[in-house]
């Protein structure tokens, strides 16, 4: 009937509303698909909350780190390997958020919105992931940390490939000590689910002097000819920044060699808040870096409210400054590579269930952190640290550059021991690797972290060196 058909617009309106709803529905499906499909209650993928059917994870040499056998996950046959690679591989329950088994579960399960979990059903797994990480190197690092907690990372500063990631404490994933972890009162399992390399932040201590030096090179034209007189402290009004010894008259390079707090406090106060902050901003403090799908913890440097003496303390890596170990490694990597370095990565290749291999081409170049001139100058000074002060004998055959750090974490006498740092790299053309070591409450950087770095770098050299 004509009258009625003239009223039909209401029905068209309803149809339009319905179609709009359908549009919203499928839009929400498409945008949330990955997150929803990876929920632990998805029984296509998880069995009682444990990742059950997924692709294998191999280390750089092809050793199995994780695989699915008969519908459940199994891991490397060596307990040492399982423990040392726990944080990079990740657990099957998703406690270790940055682990491959959690952060890359869409790839491991082959899930995508087009095929759903079809491949998983058909092949019993998704894609296999081969890491750039070497499991043996991780074991060496894990053991070298000894009784202490801490973290170690090693990467190729020319390609960005991460070859070693260790975070301690860890546990054997095959025999998880759930009871001990849940009822831990001794602190032995503090932050056990955290990959300290990616997600930790520490007071940098003297390793921060690299950054203060960079700012000085950029902003103080006479820095090369200056001399400093260290009397064991740098006085600021009634307060002072303490130095570990009395260094007497020294120049800029010697100040870094000996890690003189008096000199660096003076430099920092000279530079002032703005210039120091400009340097840390350029290095990516306060910025969230990404390594593949993993977001690094943000490093922080904030002296906007600091008193003059605190600016001095900040210049020697104390005050409120916190640095993420992977970020610190990237900073020295940039120095080694002439001012800028590629983004780190840890996935070497992905093999689909049908056998298609996609290789990672290497990390994209990050924005330059230093000018080439500044980088070269810092490179010489860091080389001088090892050559003239720590001694090349400590890193036999490696042509190492680097800086130790002893980060005070307790303000009172007899409190917690300081964190021991070493950050550095080899200058050798055939072995372009940088390392960061943090030994929590380990004591002095030079006597604790440096030997750890040497052990790991020697092992790395035996695997990757030309």
């Amino acid at each position: 009937m004509k009258t009625l058909s003239r009223r039909a617009w209401v029905l068209y309106l309803l149809v339009l509303a319905f179609l709009a709803g359908v549009g919203i529905l499928f839009y929400t499906f498409f945008t949330n698909a990955d997150a929803w499909a990876m929920k632990r209650t998805n029984r296509h993928i998880y069995n009682k909350g444990n990742l059950s059917t997924a692709g294998s994870i191999y280390d750089e040499s092809g050793a199995v780190l994780a695989e699915t056998v008969d519908g459940s996950r199994s891991y490397n046959s060596s307990k040492d390997v399982r423990t040392a690679t726990l944080h990079i591989v990740g657990d099957s329950q998703g406690y270790i958020a940055t682990g491959i088994q959690t952060a890359y579960n869409d790839i491991l399960t082959g899930y995508n919105i087009v095929d759903g979990v079809y491949d998983l059903k058909k092949y019993g797994k998704g894609s296999d992931i081969k890491l750039t990480v070497n499991a043996d190197l991780c074991v060496t690092g894990y053991k070298a940390l000894g009784k202490n907690k801490g973290t170690i990372g090693v990467y190729n500063y020319k390609t960005g490939a991460i070859v070693c990631v260790v975070s301690k404490p860890a546990y054997d994933i095959q025999n998880k000590p759930s009871e001990s972890i849940n009822n831990d009162k001794t602190g032995a399992y503090d932050g056990v689910y955290l990959n300290r390399f990616f997600s930790g932040v520490y007071t940098p201590g003297s390793t921060f002097k690299i950054i203060t030096s960079a700012s000085a090179i950029d902003n103080l034209p006479d820095i090369g000819t200056r001399s400093f007189n260290c009397t064991g402290e740098h006085k600021v009004g009634g307060d002072s920044i303490k130095c570990l010894s009395v260094h007497g008259n020294i120049n800029f390079e010697q100040a870094l060699n000996r890690s003189c707090n008096s000199a660096f406090a003076e430099i920092a106060i000279d530079l002032g808040k703005e210039k120091l902050t400009a340097t840390t901003d350029a290095l990516g403090f306060g910025k969230r870096f990404k390594v593949g799908k993993v977001s690094l913890a943000k490093s922080s440097f904030n002296i906007s409210e600091a008193s003059t003496v605190d600016v001095g303390w900040a210049g020697v890596g104390q005050h409120t400054t916190r640095v993420n170990p992977c970020h610190m490694m990237m900073i020295v990597g940039a120095i080694a590579n002439g001012g800028s370095s590629p983004e780190p990565y840890f996935i070497k290749s992905v093999t689909s269930p049908t056998g298609n291999v996609s290789q990672t081409k290497g990390g994209n170049m990050l924005e330059p952190m230093f000018s080439q001139m500044t980088a070269n100058r810092l490179d010489k000074m860091l080389r001088s640290n090892v050559k003239n002060y720590y001694g090349d004998g400590k890193f036999s055959g490696l042509e190492m550059c680097g800086k130790t750090g002893t980060a005070e974490v307790s303000s009172n006498e007899g409190g917690l021991s300081p964190h021991a740092w070493f950050v550095g790299y080899s200058q050798r053309e055939d072995f372009p690797y940088a390392i960061v070591v943090v030994v929590e409450n380990g004591g002095s950087g030079g006597s604790v972290a440096l030997p750890v770095a040497n052990k790991v770098m020697q092992k790395a050299e035996s695997i990757f060196g030309g």
Binding site: M1, K2, T3, L4, S5, R6, R7, A8, V10, L11, Y12, L14, V15, F18, L19, G21, V22, I24, L25, F26, T28, F29, N32, A33, W36, A37, K39, T41, N42, R43, H44, Y111, N112, I113, V114, D115, G116, V117, Y118, K121
Partner: protein, 424 residues
């Protein structure tokens, strides 16, 4: 001039060729049967699958051969859609509950009986007018009976259970057909305010009883349908706004003074926070819907089927997971097609009764599909209504086919031979 007009009319109503489409639908159903067979768990007897699907395909072909071949009906869009959707529902039921496959098949046969019965009733407009009061009284009686004697299942008192659970009937489903019928028929005869008032009282009583039964979803569907019928009849948008505003205020009032009603909807937009209790079904539905991808995992390969009431309350998710999102999208479009069909054919309907009946019936189906699909996916509050044709259930199957008859009746050709129209 007359010739051109004639031509245009003919082209407008040129029916789709049913034969290739039915072949496609049959192929789809054979494919479903094979999948159930291949992916079957041990408890499915292959004979069940053969008998159930064999009978269903046979029913389809007999229907088309009788009505297209002998009775020379020409347009079959509506039946094709209904058979397609019903087939999906049958496949899901057979796959998940092999022991209930025969029941579902019988429900479909009953549905077709209802379909033909309603078509027959509608063939004579005098009969329609005569029947409207008895049907109205019967509907009210049935709902009242339910209200008094019903058993509460899943929080709603809308089930009549007979013979120790052998047969359970959801009267509100059957009343849906009656509601549209009475509404359209009243308006056919009306033209007095008294008639309209009677219809409003009838509607309000039915919606009110559904509310007391806590079957809010069905109440809402009836409300939409009521508003639609009222508008199509009066063309008065202001009145519609008034009714809607009144209903909205009433709704707010209920939510304020009857907190238990509000509590039923507390998970709305928060299902993930209730993933292990009240949001359990919906969260599983979302997870498994996206797990199916665009093409689905295949019948029998899903996991949503293990969740409570999957073939009824979560039917849309089962379609997504096992048939894929493309099929799910197609299913949603078929409901749109029914509405568009009703609009297009209302131009040439024999009387406003047929137009209003078809439009109201298709809007009812569309709004029920909306409440189901957008409800389970948490875009709208979840009221637990079923997905027409696809959700398992006898009462709803009969209701859906009854509504299809109301839509079908709009086409004159349903009752006259096509060639006669052409001739003159």
């Amino acid at each position: 001039m007359a010739e051109i007009k004639q031509k245009r009319k003919t082209r407008l109503r040129k029916p789709v060729n049913w034969f290739p489409l039915l072949m496609l639908i049959t192929a789809f159903q054979v494919f479903c049967a094979l999948q159930i067979l291949l992916n079957s768990s041990e408890e499915i007897v292959p004979a069940t699958i053969f008998i159930v699907f064999g009978s269903y395909v046979l029913i389809e072909w007999v229907y088309f051969i009788v009505f297209a071949g002998f009775l020379r009906r020409k347009s079959f869009e509506v039946e094709l859609i209904a058979f397609f959707l019903t087939g999906i529902g049958l496949a899901l039921t057979t796959s998940v509950y092999p022991d209930k496959a025969y029941t579902q098949l019988i429900a479909i046969i009953l549905g077709l009986v209802v379909f033909n019965a309603v078509l027959w009733v509608l063939s004579d407009i005098d009969r329609v007018v005569k029947l409207r009061i008895p049907v109205a009284v019967l509907s009210l009686g049935a709902l009242l009976f339910t209200l008094v004697f019903a058993k509460e299942i899943n929080g709603a008192r809308n089930w009549i259970v007979l013979g120790n659970g052998l047969l359970s009937i959801q009267t509100s489903e059957l009343v849906k057909v009656a509601f549209v019928f009475v509404g359209a028929a009243t308006l056919e005869n009306l033209q007095s305010t008294k008639q309209l008032t009677k219809y409003i009282i009838f509607s309000v009583t039915i919606i009110g009883m559904l509310f007391v039964m806590k079957d809010f979803g069905t109440a809402l569907i009836f409300f939409f349908t009521f508003v639609m019928i009222a508008f199509l009849r009066s063309g008065d948008i202001k009145t519609i706004f008034l009714i809607s505003a009144g209903a909205l205020m009433g709704g707010i009032g209920v939510l304020t003074f009857k907190p238990y009603v509000a509590r039923r909807f507390e998970t709305y937009r928060h299902v993930w926070e209730f993933a292990d209790d009240k949001g359990y079904q919906q969260v599983r539905l979302l997870i498994y819907s996206v797990s199916g991808g665009l093409f689905g995992l295949g019948l029998g390969n899903g996991k949503l089927r293990y969740v409570y009431a999957a073939t009824e309350d979560l039917a849309f998710g089962m379609v997504c997971e096992e048939f894929g999102m493309i099929t799910a999208f197609a299913v949603l479009l078929t409901f749109v097609a029914l509405v568009v069909y009703s609009i297009r054919y209302s131009v040439a309907a024999r009387s406003s009764f047929y137009s209003i009946a078809a439009c109201a019936a298709s809007v009812l189906l569309l709004s029920q599909a909306s409440l189901h699909v957008f409800g389970v996916t948490d875009l709208l509050p979840w009221t637990g209504v079923t997905l027409p044709f696809i959700s398992r259930g006898g009462s709803s199957m009969m209701c859906c086919w009854g509504l299809v008859a109301l839509i079908k009746a709009i086409d004159v050709k349903t009752y006259k031979r096509y060639d006669k129209i052409i001739r003159g």
